[in-house]
Every structure is written in C-alpha cells, then in structure tokens.
C-alpha cells in the first residue's frame, strides 16, 4: 500500500489487489475493511493500474473508521478489499462534458474526467470545496480537461459559490454533466443544470454495509422509485433524485458515529499503540 495526502485529512491509498484492479472502471466503488472489528466502508475508486495490479481510493478522515484507516503506514496491508462494486460510469463521446467535483470526491471525479477525455469529449472541470485547502489535484484536472474552474464556499480561492456556473451555462452549451461530491453540491448543481436540460449524473453516497444488494440500507428514491445505491447505482439521474431524503438517511447513525469517534479519541486514537 502506498499513501499520499491530497489535502488536510484527505488521503489517497494505492493498494495491491490485482484481481480487483483488472476489473475496475471509473464510477465503481470498493468496500474496505480495516481491522477485525472494522466496518465495511464504501469508497469510490480513484484509479487503477492493471499493469501494477493496484487500485486506489481516497477518503476524508471524519469518523473513527476513516481516522484509523488514515493511520495505516506505507507498506502495511488492509484486511479486506472487495470490489469492484456497482455499475461503471457510462463513458462515450457525448460532445461537451462538464465534470464537477467536491472535496474528497474530486479524486474519483478526475478518473471519470480522464475517461471522458479519452473518449473524445471536450471536458470542462470544476473543482469545488469549502475552503482553499481542500482544493486538490489541480494539476491532474488540467491534464484531463480542456478548461478548469475552481470554486470555494468562502471564496478563498477561485469563484465564491456556484453562481458563476449559472453564468457559464448561459454562455456555453454542455451535452452532459457529471457531479461527484457532497450531496448538497450534487443537489445544487442538478438544480442549476435542470432548466438547461443537461443530462446530469450524480454519484450517490448513501450509507452502505455489504455494498452488493443484500441489506437495502442504501435505498434511494430516484424518479419516484426505490432503488439501491449499490447495485442499481451508484450513478443516477440528478434531476430525478430525492436528495433531501438521501441527506436524512445519511444522518440516521450520526449519534453512534460521533460516540464511536469520541471513544476512539479518548482511548488515545489507536488501540494498538501505533503513533
């Protein structure tokens, strides 16, 4: 396993898993388990290298599990990686594609931007985050895109908020839009693109356990239908998605997540004595 810090508390791991790497495609995800008592965490694939037999993923250290995962050192191994799961992104020559990524999801978005570019699309990429520190991978974005915009919530770098996107859509015509990021970003972008009729694909990140259709905790409402994030998605039509329900469902275990994180910190952040 090799490890890279992309932004404060955002890390990217590249792990050896040849079987997984051989089948991975943009848009799919992995289930990662760290430790015997660990949860199954779904993480979107950010890259794969079939020659090296590696697959990579990025995560934001927010709760106990991701913080503990972030403590793993270069060269250590992870208990279990299952994947690739979910359906791959639809990649073909659409014409002009707008890719919007927010914070940690910038990493998998760029994998898709790269694939879109390779398929002959003209790619415009927007990198978004709360503040300047979380804008990451700008160089990679430039490599795979014809144009790159940066926007932050507080305006500390690039545009402030998403108003510029409304102006951009008045001037330019896009054939497709893909958004990966916090639910609120996907919701906002979907609302902005809707009047222009731009097909907008969002990558939903509901709570998951098995990640292969067994538990149903990842159920989402899209177009009035109950679908499973893991086997029917994770990509869905942003104009049909019930984002408010997803936000509520993502929060159902927040008190438990907080408790777990607090207890973990109290125990010194790590039970096994690793610094």
């Amino acid at each position: 396993m090799t490890k890279k810090e992309l932004a404060p508390k955002i890390k990217m791991f590249e792990v050896e898993a040849p079987d997984v790497a051989a089948k991975s495609q943009a848009g799919q995800f992995l289930i990662v388990i760290n430790g015997k008592e660990g949860e199954r965490i779904p993480l979107t694939i950010t890259g794969y290298d079939t020659a090296k037999g590696t697959v990579s993923f990025a995560f934001h250290e927010v709760g106990k599990t991701t913080k503990a995962l972030g403590l793993l050192n270069q060269g250590e191994s992870i208990d279990n990686i299952t994947g690739p799961l979910g359906n791959p992104s639809e990649v073909k020559n659409f014409g002009k594609v707008l890719c919007v990524g927010g914070s940690v999801m910038i990493a998998p978005l760029l994998l898709q931007a790269k694939a879109m570019k390779a398929a002959g699309n003209n790619v415009t990429t927007i990198l978004g985050a709360r503040t300047k520190e979380f804008i990451m991978m700008e160089d990679e974005a430039k490599r795979y895109s014809d144009k790159v915009y940066v926007a932050t919530d507080d305006g500390s770098v690039g545009y402030k908020g998403l108003d510029f996107l409304k102006d951009l859509l008045k001037k330019e015509k896009f054939d497709r839009c893909v958004v990966m990021g916090p639910v609120i970003l996907m919701k906002d972008v979907s609302e902005i693109t809707k009047p222009y009729g731009i097909p907008t694909i969002v990558t939903l990140t509901p709570i998951m356990i098995d990640g292969m259709g067994m538990c149903g905790v990842c159920r989402v409402t899209v177009g009035g239908k109950m679908l499973f994030g893991c086997v029917d998605g994770p990509e869905f039509d942003g104009h049909q998605t019930d984002f408010d329900q997803l936000i509520l469902r993502q929060r159902t275990m927040l008190p438990e997540e907080r408790l777990s994180s607090i207890l973990w910190e109290m125990r010194g952040g790590c039970k096994c004595g690793r610094s």
């Binding site: 008592e37 106990k64 599990t65 292969m212 159920r219 989402v220 438990e256 408790l259």
Partner: protein, 469 residues
Amino acid sequence: MAEVKPKPKLNKKAVEMAKQEPKVRAKNFSEVALGYNEAEAQEEASRCLQCPKPQCTTGCPVEVPIPGFIKLLREKKYDQAILLIKTKNALPAVCGRVCPQEVQCQSKCVVGKMGEPLSIGRLERFLADWERDNGYALPPKEAPTGKKVAIVGAGPAGLTAAADLVKLGHEITMFEALHVGGGVLSYGIPEFRLPKAIVQNEVSYIQNLGVDLRLGNLVGRIHTIPELMKNGYDAVFIGSGAGLPQFTGCGGENLGGIYSANEFLIRVNLMKAFQFPDYDTPIRIGKHVVVIGGGNVAMDCARSSMRLGAEVCLLYRRSRAELPARHEEVENAEEEGLVCKFLGAPVEFYGDESGWVKSMKCIAMELTEPDAKGRRGVKEVPGSEFTMDVDTVIIAIGQTPNPIIQRTTDGLQSDPRHGTICVNEVGKTSLDGVYAGGDVATGAATVISAMGAGKRAAKAMHEYLMNKK
C-alpha cells in the same frame, strides 16, 4: 456384537435439553439451547428402536444414516458416529441446531407414533459438539481427478457441494463475496441460535478438506461465470442464496429506523453491532420495535431486538396457525417476551422532523378461503385502520435472489418473476457445466433444503465431470 434390544418399556417422553432461562437469555446473545451432556445423550439414544426399515432417513434431505450413528453413539464410539454423519452431512453442528427436525426426520420416527419422537437433532448436535471438543479426523479422499470446480457462495449449499466434490478428488475453489464464510449461517442466523465460532469451525473443516476459500470475491464483478468456465474451471456451482430484501411498498418506508431484516441481521450478526462500540458497526434500536412478517427470519429479528433492550411486537397478516416460523422458535420468542399481533398489515409509516420513524398506520386483515395449495389468503378489513407508535420497524417479509450473477451471465435462464435461477431436479442450469442450488434456485427456504440441493448437484456434477472428455 449383538444389538442390544431396547427395553420393553419405552419412555414416551424425550429427554429435555437444557436451555437458558427466558428472563436471563432475553438479555444476552449467548446460545439459548445448551445441548445434552453425555448421560442425557445416552438416555435419549436408548429410545431409538433401531428399526430394520428406518423411516427417519427418508425424512432427511441429505440422507444422514440416522440409526447407524445412533447405534455408534450408544456404543460410545463418538468419533465413528460423527464420521458416519459426515459421510452425508458436512455441517452437523449447524444442522443439529437449526434444522426443522420436527417436519423432517423426527416426523417420520416410529417412536413418535407412540409418544415424543426421538430427538435426532439434539443427538446430532451432541456428537458435533463432542467432536469440536475432541478434535476431528479428516475423511479419506479419492485420488485427484484433475478436474477443477468453482463454487459460488460459501453458504449451506456451497459448503455442502464443496465438501462432497473435494472428497471425490476434484479441485475446488470457493468464491465468497462477504469477508467471512458461512453465508446466511454467518450474516443471518443470530449468535444465540447458532454461535458464529461454530460456523467458523465448520467452514474451516471444509477448508481443511482441501477447499480453497476466497473471501471478498464477488463473482459477477471480479470473474463472471463465463470467465470462470473459460479460465480452466470444468464446472461451476452457484449457491449465492437469496440476499435481496423485499420491502412493503408502503409510504414512508425510507424513513430512518426502518430496517430490512437483512440490514438488521447483517449489522447485528455479521458486523457484531450488539458489541458496538467495541465493533465499529452501530445499530440503533428504540424502545418499541415492530417486526413485520412471520417466518424464522422475523423471529430472529424479534429475538435479537429484545436482546438489544427493546419491547417487540410482531405484526403478521395471517393468524397464528399460518405462522411459517418453526413452532419452537415462536415458543422461544414468546417466552422471551414477544407480543404477537395477528391479522394486521402496515399501510404507511410516519416520521419525525429528523426523518426517523415515529408511528405507523396499520390495517386489520381477515383470512379468505384456502386456495388450491391449501394456503389461506388475506384481505383487508375496510375501515379497520389503526395507528401504533414505533421507534424501529424491521421488515422481514422475504428475500429474493441477488441479481448480479443473472445479469452478468449470458444464456443463464432465470425466472423473470422471482429472479431465481432455473434448474432441473439435479440442479443443472441452462448452461452446460453450470449448476445451481439452494435459495438462488428455490427462493428463500431452509438451511437443510439448500444443503440437500448442494448434495444433489454435487452428485450430478461428479457424473458430468467424469464423463466429460
């Protein structure tokens, strides 16, 4: 040695098996039934008539030689007795605990015509537990055939097929999508009914027979079935189970606090949420839990909820007489405090401002005349709606097969309505060399019926492999 004739005065009562007291067990996840000790096992075994034409074996889906193992048990040849069981049944510690013996072997037992039938399951369990404490011997294996078989899913069907085929000399690779083996035995059936250490012991027995178990390997995503066949496997057995949960379709079903039985059981059993926060996966359960459904899965959810501290009400749309759950499970659950509400169905769920369920509207049902199969239908009683306050709802109304394999295997015929893979009586699918069995072929059923299917398929696959050039 002459067979000891049973004493003329037959004890009509079976020897009771000790259980944890309801009040105690309702608060812990330790196993409820404690098993026979040696004296109890001997006493119970002495009730066997050793019929010359035993009926019990005809009731067993995997044809365990029941009178034979009981004879060896009586002679205290426990090691030989368990080996004899294992010639037919690779998972005796599991079957001794979760098989519905009352409708299988024990329903045919001749002693049962005069009193209580012989407790065959408890004796099987006694021997399996004896073996676990005393170490097991591996059965002999046929010479290698040079044939390779892929088994998809390490649940009851797959484990059984794998054990039979590896003993016949084939090279077996077993692909399991989850991070532990056992399938439903690990993720579905709770600890207090089937301790996970016992499941893992059975899985490692299969591995020690020489089966290569690959965990976290989802067939359909890493390798598809056609790829397996192309990459050197001579045959494939699909035993991927019925993992896709069904929902009611009622409004408000996506509120927080409404779990599918699968989600609830996966959290509690597989991910050990009952030990949260020592284990990372949480479960939130309020004071008032309603479990919708009436099968064994519903009972497992209800009994687990009680152990997590809740008051549980079971809502079932038919009446007590139609409950599909094992009688013993219903009895156990009620002793532990389960309240059953029969002839009722959900209509709609309502939530609080945070999106968590707080109440549900239900409607009373009435039974209709039995259909051709003798099963009674239900219809709503107009105007009978009522509301219940709830903190958690668990939906246990059935599972269908996971569609990933069907979607990624060209030419594999499946039933469009139920999603089950179509097979003939020995488990052959529409594809040459590809077999399937268990819940993926039948829809959700029992552990032992899946094992029976695994066994039949293994036999057919062996013939196929040996005739294949």
